[in-house]
């Protein structure tokens, strides 16, 4: 009796990794999923902080994919290790701060370590040649295999017929003829295969699965590094860059203003870590001040806070400022008018 072969599938939560895993499962391979959390992953929940996104399903698509496939999913926290990938990408950044090729190499490398530790035979991904510009080009496919150390243990079921034979194919663990030859940006082959498999409800994130591909997010990250004078971040930084208006009146401080109740509720959790404020005389948003503001700076922050409250047209607005230790005081400020805030303050 032949040995039951086992593969780990990189599950992003998108359609391609779902199809790749299903393709291999249908060949009798035992598949388990692995999903890496960098901190920058776009999740429905992160968007769900904001009311405007409440209609979107609040689900983790990687977990959902695994459930559709009936496989286990291992979610791995790589936040700390990922810092080096983001800060020093050997292959550089994409259009924004997205180090896509280095990221893919790193994740396949982690998957290689995982299969060794867990006695699995090979790795599968949902990559398709030509699907995205940076990490899924024909010339990057061998780079990922080689630099991750996975070499011919890395099988891409959706485009395998366009690539050299891998070990699972050579050994007959999988039938190459039953793999696919997808290439290019068209999604039609994937849609057809999803239809064949009976998958009807799947995630197709328009902006990819990573905040680093987003210009606005990348701008805020670059601003953070610039203000600190060094490229470093922690998880709270990553999270707070996802919420609120970020306004930097001076290099040494910025104000984060909640845009709606969901963001304000999320930011409440950080009230002990930042000087924060909100309007006392009118309804208005929670705002937090990051950096080392002077007393004068706090008055500017209060004017900004008032600008985004219901007292924006009032002559004067009372704003309560709370220190990190909870002590508070109320100041009276004139709200900024819209055209009084220099455009370059907005990050």
């Amino acid at each position: 009796m032949s040995k039951q072969r086992k593969a780990v599938a990189l599950i992003s939560g998108g359609l391609d990794s779902l199809l790749a895993a299903k393709t291999i499962m249908d060949q009798g391979i035992q598949v388990e999923g692995i999903n890496f959390f960098t901190g920058f992953c776009v999740e429905g929940h992160t968007h769900a902080i904001r009311k405007k996104d409440k209609a979107k399903p609040k689900r983790n698509n990687a977990l959902w994919s695994a459930e559709q496939l009936g496989i286990k999913l291992h979610i791995v926290d790589i936040i700390e290790e990922y810092k080096d990938v983001l800060i020093n990408p050997k292959h550089g950044y994409g259009a924004n701060m997205n180090p896509c090729l280095d990221c893919k190499i790193f994740m396949v490398q982690k998957a290689k370590e995982w299969i060794k530790e867990n006695d699995f035979d090979f790795i599968i991904t949902g990559e398709v040649i030509g699907q995205r510009p940076m990490s899924q080009r024909r010339e990057t496919m061998p780079i990922i295999a080689a630099e991750s150390g996975a070499d011919d243990l890395l099988l891409r079921p959706l485009c395998a017929q366009n690539l050299p034979m891998t070990l699972p194919e050579r050994e007959g663990w999988v039938d190459r003829e039953k793999l696919h030859d997808f290439s290019g940006r068209s999604r039609k082959p994937q849609m057809a295969l999803a239809n064949d498999f009976g998958f009807e409800d799947f995630a197709q994130p328009a902006g990819g699965c990573c905040f680093l591909t987003d210009k606005s997010y990348s701008d805020k990250l670059v601003d953070l590094w610039s203000a600190r004078g060094r490229k470093e971040y922690d998880l709270d930084d990553v999270m707070l860059l996802k919420v609120g208006r970020h306004i930097r009146p001076k290099q040494h401080f910025k104000v984060i203003v909640a845009r709606e109740d969901g963001e304000a509720r999320f930011m409440q959790g950080y009230k002990k870590d930042f000087i924060n404020m909100n309007c006392a005389s009118h309804r208005g948003p929670l705002a937090m001040v990051d950096g080392a503001p002077t007393e004068e700076d706090l008055l500017v922050a209060a004017q900004l806070t008032a600008r985004y409250g219901q007292g924006r047209d009032a002559e004067l607005v009372d704003v309560t400022i709370r220190e990190k230790d909870g002590t508070e005081r109320t100041v009276q400020v004139k709200p900024f008018k819209g055209d009084e805030i220099p455009k370059e303050w907005f990050i």
Partner: protein
């Protein structure tokens, strides 16, 4: 059988799931884990994670600011 509490407040998904996953690895079948979170997404994700991995959700509780899931390790 032991009962343990996991504080996953202020974390956004999937971190509460990851913390739950890592905690459960240290527990025995039949043990009870209570996870307290502030991200409403956990109400979907932790039960999904439990279904995939053979654990049982015993109870879910919601109040204005917190979401609590009590599960039995499978």
């Amino acid at each position: 059988m032991t009962k343990e509490l996991l504080n996953a407040k202020r974390l956004l998904c999937p971190l509460p799931v990851i913390r739950t996953q890592d905690k459960v690895k240290t527990m025995q079948t039949g043990d009870i884990l209570e996870v307290v979170c502030t991200d409403p997404g956990v109400m979907q994700d932790i039960p999904a994670w439990c279904r995939i991995n053979g654990h049982k959700v015993l109870e879910t509780l919601t109040d204005e600011m917190e979401y609590t899931i009590i599960l039995e390790v499978g």
